[in-house]
Symmetry: C2
Subunit: 204 residues, 2 copies
DNA sequence: GTCTATATTCCGATAGAC
DNA sequence: GTCTATCGGAATATAGAC
């Protein structure tokens, strides 16, 4: 029961925080959306901030799941494609979480703890070393691995976070799985293809 | 005088709307940041919404500037690189506008008029036809031009909109012009390079 | 654990003196 | 045009009955 209500509150809160940020979201709205009287929010959580932080914690936990594909002994392009597909899939299936995270970062990451940021940084750093190794082995064209990850994050999150613009551009009322398939194909055939080692590795 | 104050209000408002969205931004904050008593806001604008809409209007006006590089008679890769560089440059130099736009879209674009969205759509559509023509002429690999634009928007805006994550990833306290140069190079050498027609146009 | 009623603070907007 | 003072309503959080 406690678990059920806490989950309902966090789900409702995530949707609203995603749309309107921390200051823009009203406790009353969260309660309404969760189907509870407002006072019950304050039974389960002491403050609105506590709800926000609980939601953030949940989404930081999922940050690095897709990165497990990046292993030194894997084929670089299979690994990167799997990473791209899983990131796209995660964003699609957890749209509100993805948007809430985006909102938090645009707002200047006021609720991300030093530890959270260090965690994300350390995991990323570990994977950049693998990319560098692949480059050194000639299995990939030279690329700044940190910028590569930034490009992959931006492209895989855009479809979900900026869905309104994506829908307008694709002339669809909302995005279907096949649109995400097109997205995956485009990212693979542009971003990743550009990194395949060619015959002449220094042509312009 | 009127012009000077209106500009100060819009500048302050854009910064705050970028960070906290419409509901999250307080009229008092806008006034403080603009260096005016709150009542003066209501002398120049009737409501907070009017301030928000004025700021949105300003940023819609700059949406399509960089797209002028995409002309049918241009070299596809020179044109696309110029587009990427100008988009990155615009985002860097107008960071708050760029973030406010991102915030508005994530929030579900509640203040974007049908006309604004149609404008953005029409301009984009016009340019997708040019990309299709380049593909048909064999000057570029086959690509879905709508998805290509989405990939270019996402990558060029990410650095500015999600600056906090970018800084953590690059281990810099803030982004310098040379970081933006690295960004441009990465986008050109990954996204755009993947679209160059190769000897074998169907290898995996 | 649940919910109504309320305390207290804060916000958007305005009145009206200068 | 500028600014102080303030109104009415709304927001966060709590008290306390059930």
């Amino acid at each position: 029961m406690r678990q059920r209500n806490e989950k309902a509150i966090l789900r409702a809160a995530t949707t609203l925080f995603a749309k309107k940020g921390f200051d823009g979201t009203r406790a009353t709205e969260i309660a309404e959306r969760a189907g509870l009287p407002k006072a019950n929010l304050y039974y389960y959580f002491n403050t609105k901030e506590e709800i926000y932080r609980a939601a953030i914690r949940h989404l930081i936990a999922g940050w690095d799941k897709a990165l497990r594909h990046i292993r030194a002994d894997a084929d670089p392009f299979e690994a990167l494609e799997a990473y791209v597909r899983e990131k796209l899939d995660y964003a699609r299936k957890n749209a509100d979480e993805s948007r809430m995270f985006a909102n938090e970062i645009i707002s200047g990451a006021p609720f991300l703890s030093r530890a959270d940021r260090k965690h994300m940084h350390d995991i990323t750093l570990e994977k950049t070393l693998i990319i560098e190794q692949w480059v050194a082995e000639g299995r990939m064209r030279p690329v700044n691995p940190r910028h590569l990850f930034i490009v992959l994050w931006s492209t895989t999150q855009f479809y979900t976070n900026f869905e309104k613009i994506t829908c307008d551009t694709l002339e669809k009322p909302r995005l279907s799985p096949s649109d995400y398939e097109d997205a995956a194909r485009t990212i693979v055939e542009t971003v990743l293809r550009g990194l395949r080692p060619g015959k002449a590795s220094s042509d312009p």
